[in-house]
């Protein structure tokens, strides 16, 4: 007796490896401005206790009182934007298998499982030097660490 089985799944946007890309890194909401405070005096109120960075009379977390007659821009520490060609992540999963019984007591089976994910989001830091410029200048060492993490592309630049 031969017993086959198969199934196909399609999942959109709920890819486990993608996570919630709009919340990463912390407070980097898309198109939002993130301020940086270097002298945090209290984690409970990180932007209201250090008078050298923030004025006491200002409405936290803003660094100044807004005046329509004298508008000022807030200096951001970071910016996150979406690419114009951003696409929704998707995941395709397929499996099939076959089982055959030999005699009364033996049944071997062969099964395949495939999981294909497409259009997963990727953060690009546009303020870092490009690999091409690093290779061309050759006097610069590739950046081995990016924000405390090892950068595997540095090895790629060395190999090239």
């Amino acid at each position: 007796m031969v017993r086959p089985d198969f199934a196909v799944w399609l999942a959109s946007s709920s890819v486990p490896s993608a996570g919630n890309e709009w919340q990463y890194p912390s407070n980097n909401q898309t198109y939002a401005i993130r301020q940086q405070y270097n002298k945090v005096a209290s984690l409970a109120t990180p932007h209201a206790t250090d008078t050298s960075e923030v004025c006491r009379r200002c409405l936290a977390p803003y660094r100044y009182n807004f005046d329509p007659k004298n508008p000022r821009f807030t200096r951001p520490a970071g910016l996150v934007a979406m690419d114009a060609n951003y696409k929704r992540p998707s995941s395709y999963q397929v499996n099939f298998g076959v089982q055959q019984q030999f005699g009364r007591s033996t049944a071997p089976s062969l099964s395949y499982v495939g999981s294909l994910t497409r259009e997963l989001p990727l953060f690009f830091e546009h303020n870092y030097p490009s690999i091409t410029s690093v290779i061309q200048q050759q006097t610069l060492l590739p950046i081995l660490m990016i924000e405390g993490r090892f950068n595997p592309e540095a090895l790629r630049a060395i190999r090239l």
Binding site: E21, G97, S105, P108, G114, T117, E119, L122, F123, T132
Partner: protein, 56 residues
Amino acid sequence: LKTVYVIESGQTSNDNDLQVTLDQRMTKNISRQGFYTWSKTIWIAYMANNTFPERI
């Protein structure tokens, strides 16, 4: 600006698994099963604009 991140659709992953299983019934109440699984995953990150990516 300290950091300027742009979220792009730059990653792809392919996961392929193949499993061979053998079921054998030894007695009325006892059976045994053996299996071998071959698995391979390829993760691709596209280097758009030649900048360094940060995978999430």
